[in-house]
């Protein structure tokens, strides 16, 4: 014996809704059934809850399972056709342009969240840019590559007086200022349209569709790299700013798919390595995750002085100036100064 309906009442009462919904574990069924037989309160409540479920069920309907199965293939085809119409895609971009195509898709989708709420374009994002200003900055940032590849400008912002002799950072910052100022004189949707036009234009070029035409090195933003790498840089920056806008709007922007992230990591590692300069002691950098890998930074001939472990996304955010060396999750071993030097150099790029 020792079985007391009153004692288990609270526990069973808590299960009645699940029971009425046929959502209990198989082990619960016997206990509930036995308790309800002896407990008038529970029996009454169960009756009420079952009635609610019954009302949701409605009158019995003829099962339409076969029809659904037949409709399935048709429905899938129809959906995929609608999908193609709803978002601009690019047929098989080359591997170097795929991360940019994906980043563009993700920002386009994010900006669609602003449809119907024009005021949100004024949400502060980063630096002194609002959402419109951030998109305008991307118009300016994509422009050098677009121009180099022979595209026409998408913004009427007039080029100011920095002159070609000025260092690229100065020209780059000045161009952003001009474009942001100009774009603020027109509706945000037009700024978004200009960005879209330029971005999709870049993705429609032969340089985005095949490896060969993208293999030529060209100097942009102070870096002489193959055009293919400049596409990866565009992906990097587009993702970082999409993430900025998402944070400002309270929407989580997932990090890029790992195949794409891997390309961003390789690029980040290369840029950090180039920036380390002479007199650096070699550091083994382990990047974790599906997009990771191991690299020795600094002179390869010397023995490794320290090991540093970073998460792939954190490394990108560090190089992108969105995390500080203190914030990146890491394991570290060996010469602390050497490891610190790598982190400080990565952060100093404060790229973007």
């Amino acid at each position: 014996m020792g079985w007391d309906p009153a004692e288990e009442h609270p526990e069973i009462a808590e299960l009645l809704a699940a029971w009425a919904l046929d959502a209990v574990m198989s082990g619960d069924a016997e206990r509930i059934r036995a308790h309800v037989e002896d407990c008038a309160d529970c029996a009454e409540e169960l009756g009420r809850l079952r009635e609610a479920v019954h009302r949701l069920d409605g009158p019995p309907a003829a099962p339409a399972k076969g029809a659904r199965r037949g409709a399935d293939k048709v429905g899938r085809g129809r959906l995929m056709a609608a999908a193609r119409a709803a978002r601009t895609g690019h047929d098989a971009p080359a591997a170097h342009a795929a991360p940019y195509a994906a980043a563009v898709a993700s920002l386009e989708a994010l900006l669609r969240e602003l449809d119907g709420t024009p005021a949100r374009w004024g949400t502060p994002v980063v630096h002194d840019w609002d959402v419109q200003g951030t998109v305008a900055h991307l118009v300016a940032a994509d422009e050098p590559l677009a121009e180099r590849l022979g595209m026409l400008p998408v913004t009427r912002a007039e080029a100011g007086g920095t002159g070609d002799a000025a260092p690229w950072e100065v020209r780059w910052a000045a161009r952003t200022e001009e474009v942001v100022a100009y774009e603020h004189t027109r509706p945000p949707t037009e700024t978004a349209e200009a960005w879209r036009t330029q971005a999709h234009g870049l993705l429609d070029l032969p340089e985005a569709r095949a490896e060969e035409p993208a293999s030529l090195p060209t100097a942009l933003m102070g870096k002489r790299l193959p055009v293919a790498d400049h596409y990866v840089i565009r992906a990097f920056e587009t993702w970082i700013h999409t993430r900025d806008i998402g944070r400002a709007l309270g929407l989580t922007v997932p990090s890029p798919p790992s195949v794409h992230l891997q390309r961003l990591v390789v690029l980040a590692v290369r840029i950090v390595d180039l920036a380390l300069g002479d007199g650096t002691r070699p550091v083994l950098l382990g990047v974790e995750g599906a997009a990771g890998g191991d690299w020795v930074l600094g002179p390869a001939a010397e023995p490794v002085a320290a090991e540093l472990v970073l998460d792939a996304v954190d490394l990108c955010l560090l190089v992108g100036g969105r995390l500080t060396p203190q914030e990146v999750s890491r394991g570290q071993a060996g010469d602390a100064a050497a490891a610190q030097h790598v982190l400080a150099t990565a952060a100093s790029l404060a790229w973007l």
Binding site: L21, D22, A23, E51, D72, M80, A86, R87
Partner: protein, 178 residues
Amino acid sequence: MDRRAASPSTPPRDEDLHRRLVYGDESALGEAYDAFGGLAHAVAHRVTRSTHTAEEVVQEVLTHLWARPYAFDPARGSLRAWLSMQAHRRAVDRMSEAAGCGTLPAGTALLPHAALAELPPAQRQVLHLAYFAGRTYRQAAVELGIPEGTAKTRLRVALRSLADRLADPPDPAVEKGM
């Protein structure tokens, strides 16, 4: 709370699907359709009683997921529950419109479903998983990353308030059941 740490059986798929949807990978939409199109159809059919209308709702809901992937946040619930709720909401809206024009098909139980659609989202999520998706309270808890007790309580509160709304105007003497 890390949902994946809660149980290895929780699909990490939602985050993966969401990422691919956001980054414009069409194959993710096909996978979402294969995985949840049947559920969305069943939900819409339960409300509308029409295979044709249910199919329209499925198309609408999945096209919306594709066009507006940020509307779904995997940190706030499962894709299964989200799509089920979207399908339900849209089916109820269609039926309310039909009722407004006096063209509500016979046999539709709009009232209880309109009441369900008004429950707070946290309760609705669990109820959708239990009622439409056939999940046990434990499976629902794991899927949503909430404690089992919370899932049970939410089901109870949800079903009770549905029962309250659907009950005939209460007669206090009978209600307090001496």
